[in-house]
Structure formats: C-alpha cells, structure tokens
C-alpha cells in the first residue's frame, strides 16, 4: 500500500488528509498523481510540489516503492 497524505488547502478540497492506494510494481510518482488528479481535479489544481518519504521530490518520474509515503502539496504559506 502507498500512503498518500494531504495538508492545508489540498486536504480541504480532497475532503480528507490521508488515502491508502494499492501499490503496483513500477508505479511512478506521475502515475499516482494522474490517478488522483482524475478523482480530485480541484484539489490537484493546487498541487505544485510532492514529497516521498519526507523528502521533496522534483523528478515526477521517480519510481515508488511499496509502503511509500507520498504527499501532494500546494505552495507553502508558513512563516
């Protein structure tokens, strides 16, 4: 399973802060994004950043592992 987390405005639009998604071998970050974008287009309109296992990922073609923690994030507004 892949755990997907949402925070702030993205979580608000998804309507929840966590989803469990079935893992598929060879699955890329962009594949997962594509799947979820179809389900939550309004939330994903805000997404501009992603993190895998707590680390910012710039390469959307990165291959995910089973049990990965993935976060799709809008621009930060802390501070």
């Amino acid at each position: 399973m892949i755990t997907v987390l949402f925070f702030g405005p993205v979580a608000e639009r998804v309507g929840q802060s966590q989803l469990e998604i079935a893992f598929q071998a060879g699955m890329r970050l962009q594949d997962l994004r594509g799947q979820l974008q179809t389900l939550y287009p309004e939330a994903f309109a805000l997404v501009s950043l992603a993190a895998v296992n707590g680390t910012h990922v710039r390469d959307w073609t990165v291959v995910l592992a089973d049990t990965s923690e993935v976060v799709f994030m809008s621009k930060f507004s802390g501070g």
Partner: protein
C-alpha cells in the same frame, strides 16, 4: 535548554531564545532576529484567528537543514528557528528566527535569508478565519 529548531504549539520568550543563542559563544557581537506575527487584517479582510497545518515529518528536518546551511553559508556562530502551530490571534508570534555572528552584517544577512527560505521550503500552511469564513492563504508570488 530548548532545541535550537522547534515546531511547537506554545508561545516562547524572545529573551530566553536570545540567551540560548548567546550561550553558544562569547564572541557574538551581532544578533539579528525576525518575528513573524499574526495581523488582524490581511488582503483587505479582518482576520480573527490564524491556524496552521504542517507536514511535520518534513517540516522539522527542513528547518534543521536551513539552520545548518545558514550557519555555514554566513559563518554564523549560532542560529535558532521556532515555528508555532495551533491557533494564534492578532499580535501572537508565528515564526521566530535568531542569528548570531561576530559582526552585524552576516547576522543580518542570514536572518533575512532564513525567513525567505523558510517560506519557500518548509511545508506549513496558514488558514485565516475572517467574518466571511475560513481561507487558506495563497503565498505571494
């Protein structure tokens, strides 16, 4: 002594943070700080409170990395970063940065760099409660 980098609910004392910063060295001649606080007015709307959401697993390590980068990039003697979560009201502290160096220029440069980078790199989101309802803040471009 409290950690140099923290994410916490409670308010903190600037005097205590400065004392902790100074405790690291007697060679510190310049200390710069930045305190970001909640305003009662934003984008033309009254704001009664601000709350936060954070991806803490990433936020704290990012803040720790920022501190280390600032220390080596500006030759600081020490730096501290505190970000509050929970709910804050007008006048309350949100974020605090303190930088200490032998002379004033690196302390001032590092302080500005840290708050600018924190806003870009630390996964925290701010929600303002106004008479019209709640709104997640969109960062200025």
């Amino acid at each position: 002594m409290k950690d140099a980098v923290r994410i916490e609910q409670d308010d903190f004392s600037q005097d205590e943070e400065i004392r902790a910063l100074q405790a690291s060295s007697k060679r510190m001649g310049g200390i710069a700080t930045f305190l970001g606080c909640a305003r009662d007015f934003s984008e033309g709307r009254a704001v009664s409170e601000i709350s936060f959401d954070a991806y803490e697993r990433m936020a704290l390590p990012e803040m720790q990395k920022l501190r280390e980068e600032a220390i080596s990039r500006f030759g600081l003697l020490e730096a501290r970063i505190v970000h509050r979560l929970g709910v804050v009201r007008a006048g309350d502290a949100i974020v605090f940065i303190a930088t200490g160096a032998e002379h004033r220029a690196p302390a001032l440069d590092a302080c500005r760099w840290l708050i600018d980078e924190l806003k870009e790199r630390v996964p925290i989101w701010k929600k303002e409660t106004t008479p019209q309802g709640e709104t997640w803040v969109t960062p200025h471009p």
